[in-house]
C-alpha cells in the first residue's frame, strides 16, 4: 500500500518512513500542509498519516480542505496533543483514526491497514461467520462444527471484533477502544487476560484461530477455521 506521511520533524518522519517500509508499504513524505495537498493532487494514496501541528497550516485544516474537494482518502491523525478532547476534535473534523505521540510503529502500521481497508470491512450486526466458526448474536454463543460454547459479553465482543477484521493485526489499544470503549489506558493486562479466557473457550470447541503477535496484538486466521 502507498501512504502519504505529513510530518515536519525529520527524525520522526524518517522513523515512520523506515518503519512502514519494514511492513512492506511505500510512502511519500510531505513536510508541510500545502506540500501534502499538492502531493495528494498528483497521485492517489491508500491513507494519510497527518501530523496535527504543522509549520504552515493546522492538520485539521488539511483534512477540511481534502474532504471539501470530495477526497475520501482515510486519514490517521498523529498528534502530540493526546487528551480525549483533542482526539474527539480530530475525529469530528473527519480523521478516521487518531494516534497520540509517542506511538508504537506496529500500532501505527496496524491502524493504517485497518482504516485503509475499512471500505471492505464487514458491516456490524450481520451474522458473523469465518470458515466454520460462527457467532450467534442473539444467544452470545460461538459454534464450530457441531460444538458450541457460551461466551460472556466481553468474550463475545472480542471475538466479534476479530472476526470482522479477519487476517488483520488488531492491537491491544484498538481492542480497548472498540471492545471496551475506554479512553484511558488500564495498567493491568485487561486485553490479554480476557483474550486468554476467549481462547480457552474456543480451544474447547476444537478451534483456536487466534494468533498472538508478541508485543503487537492479535490476528484471527481464517485458514484455521476450516
Amino acid at each position: 500500500m502507498r501512504f502519504l506521511i505529513v510530518e515536519d520533524d525529520p527524525v520522526i518522519a524518517e522513523h515512520i518512513v523506515a518503519g512502514l517500509g519494514l511492513h512492506g508499504h511505500e510512502t511519500t513524505l510531505a513536510q508541510t500542509g500545502s506540500e501534502a495537498i499538492l502531493m495528494l493532487d498528483r497521485r492517489p494514496h491508500d491513507a494519510i498519516v497527518l501530523d496535527r501541528l504543522l509549520p504552515d497550516i493546522n492538520g485539521l485544516s488539511v483534512i477540511d480542505h481534502v474532504r471539501r474537494q470530495g477526497n475520501a482518502v482515510p486519514v490517521l491523525m498523529l498528534s502530540a496533543l493526546g487528551s480525549v478532547k483533542d482526539r474527539i476534535e480530530g475525529l469530528e473534523v473527519g480523521a478516521d483514526d487518531y494516534l497520540a505521540k509517542p506511538f508504537d510503529m506496529d500500532e501505527l502500521a496496524a491502524r493504517l491497514s485497518a482504516i485503509a481497508r475499512r471500505n471492505v470491512s464487514r458491516p456490524e450486526g450481520s451474522r458473523l461467520q469465518v470458515g466454520r466458526l460462527e457467532l450467534d448474536p442473539s444467544s452470545h454463543r460461538a459454534r464450530y462444527r457441531d460444538a458450541s460454547a457460551a461466551l460472556n459479553r466481553k468474550q463475545y465482543s472480542l471475538l466479534a471484533h476479530l472476526m470482522r477484521n479477519t487476517d488483520r493485526l488488531v492491537t491491544r489499544s484498538m481492542l480497548l477502544e472498540s471492545v471496551w470503549a475506554y479512553s484511558f489506558s488500564p495498567t493491568t493486562n485487561i486485553v490479554e487476560s480476557n483474550m486468554s479466557r476467549l481462547r480457552t473457550a474456543l480451544l474447547a470447541l476444537g478451534c483456536d484461530p487466534i494468533e498472538t503477535q508478541r508485543g503487537a496484538g492479535y490476528i484471527l486466521r481464517s485458514d484455521r477455521c476450516a
Binding site: 496533543l81 493526546g82 480525549v84 497520540a100 456490524e124 471496551w180 479512553s183 485487561i190 490479554e192 487476560s193
Partner: protein, 464 residues
Amino acid sequence: MRLIPRALTRSPRVGRLAIQFGMAFAIAMLAVGMIGFSAADAWVLSRIDASLRYHTAKYLQPVDGHGADDAAVAAKILDWQRRKVLSERTYVLFGRDGARIAGRLDIGPLPPGFSDVRFLGGGRNYQEGRALATRLPSGSLLVIVQHSEAAASLHALLPGVVLAISLVALVMGVSATFLFARLTANRLAETQSTADAIAAGDLSRRIPTDRLDGMFAVQANSLNRMIDRMEELVRAQRLFSSNLAHDLRTPLTRLRGMLARGVADGDPALSGTFERAERECASIIAIFDALLRLAEIETGRHPSAMGTLSLRPLIEDVADTMDPVIADRGGTLEVGRLDDVAITGDSDLINQLLINLLENIATHTPVGTRARLSLERDADGAVITIRDDGPGLAAGDLARVTRPFERGASTTRGSGLGLAIAQAIVRFHRGRLDLADAAPGLEVRVRIPANDSPGPIVDAGAAA
C-alpha cells in the same frame, strides 16, 4: 471550588434572618410605643398638677385683703360638698394637730407639695390619685386630691397597646424580610445557576446583567470579571499543558524511534537494554497521560458525556472484564448484591473509576486475595463497595493515598495517581470516596447521588 448543595438552588433559606429581622423591628416598635406612652402620660400628669395648683390657689384666695383662714377654707369645702355630688377632685383640710377639719376623704395628712396617694373611693375600692398639700399661714394643711379616670385608663391600656404594637411589628418585619429575601433570591437565581455551571466546569457561562439593577448589577459585573480572569488562567494552564505535552511528546517520540532502531539493528547484547529503556519510556508517557487526565477531570475540562447512567449493567461489565485479570494474578473477584440505581454520570469516567479501584487490588495485594464488588441503593443514592481481604492499609495511609503521588507504605509500583484520579472522578460526580479498614483488608466505598428523574437510560455496557 465548593459545590452549592442542590436544595439551596431551589428555595433559598431565609427563615432565621426573617425572624431576627422581625424581632429587631418588634423591639424598635416596642421602644417607640413606650416613648409615646410616657410622653402622653407625662402630659396628662402635668395637666392634673396644673389643675391642682389652680384649685389650691382658688381656695386660698385672700378675702378682703386677708389670707384665707381655716374657717373660710372649711366653709368653701363644705359648700363644695353640698354642691358637688360627683367630682374627680376631693378637698380635705387638716388642722395644725393633724385632725381633719373639713372634707370626707379617708386619708391622713400629707407632706406639703405634690404626691401620689391611695384612698378608699366609693367605700370599697382603693383608687389612686394625685395630691397637692399646701400649708396655710395658720399651720393647717389643705390637701386637694384629684383622681383622673383618663390617667388610670391610660395605665390600664399600656400592656395591651404595647403588645399589639410589637406583634404587628413582628408580623410586618417577618413579612418584609420574606418579601425582601424573595426579591433578592429572584435576582440572585441567575447568579446561582451560573455559579453551579462554573462549579461543574463550564467557564464560558456569565451572569446575565440585563435584568439586574443597583448593587445586584454591580455584584454580577464584578463576579463576571472574576470568571473572566478564572477562564483566562484556566486557558493559560491548558495552553501550558498542551505546550508541555507537545514539547515532551515530540522528543519522547524521537527517543522511542531511536530505541526501536537500536533493538532492530543493534548489538544483540545491547538489545535487552534497549527494550528496557523503551519500557521506561512507555511508563514516563503513562504517568504523563495520567497527570494530564487528572488535571482535565479536576478542572472540569474532560469532554464529558453526562447522562442518566444505569450502574448495574456497567458494574456487571466491569466485573466481566476484571474477573480474568484478578484470577490471572491468583485472586478472585466475587460480585455481591447489585441493586438497580441510576446516576447522572459519564460512563467512560465511571468505568475508569471502577477499573482503577479493581486494578489496585490486582496490583497491590498478595496472591490469593479475594475481592468483592457490590452496588446498593440507600436513601442518598448509589453506594458502590469494593472490599478485599488483603493486608489493607495502615491507619495513617487511609487518608493519604487519595492524594496525587502518594502510595501505601508497602508498594512502589504504579504512577501514584490511580486513587487520585478515582477521587477526582467521584468528586466530579458530586459523590464521595471513603477508604476504611475492613479488618482484614481494605474497603473502598463510593457514594454517588441517585438520579431518579425519568429519562433515556444510557447503557454503558458492551460497546461493540
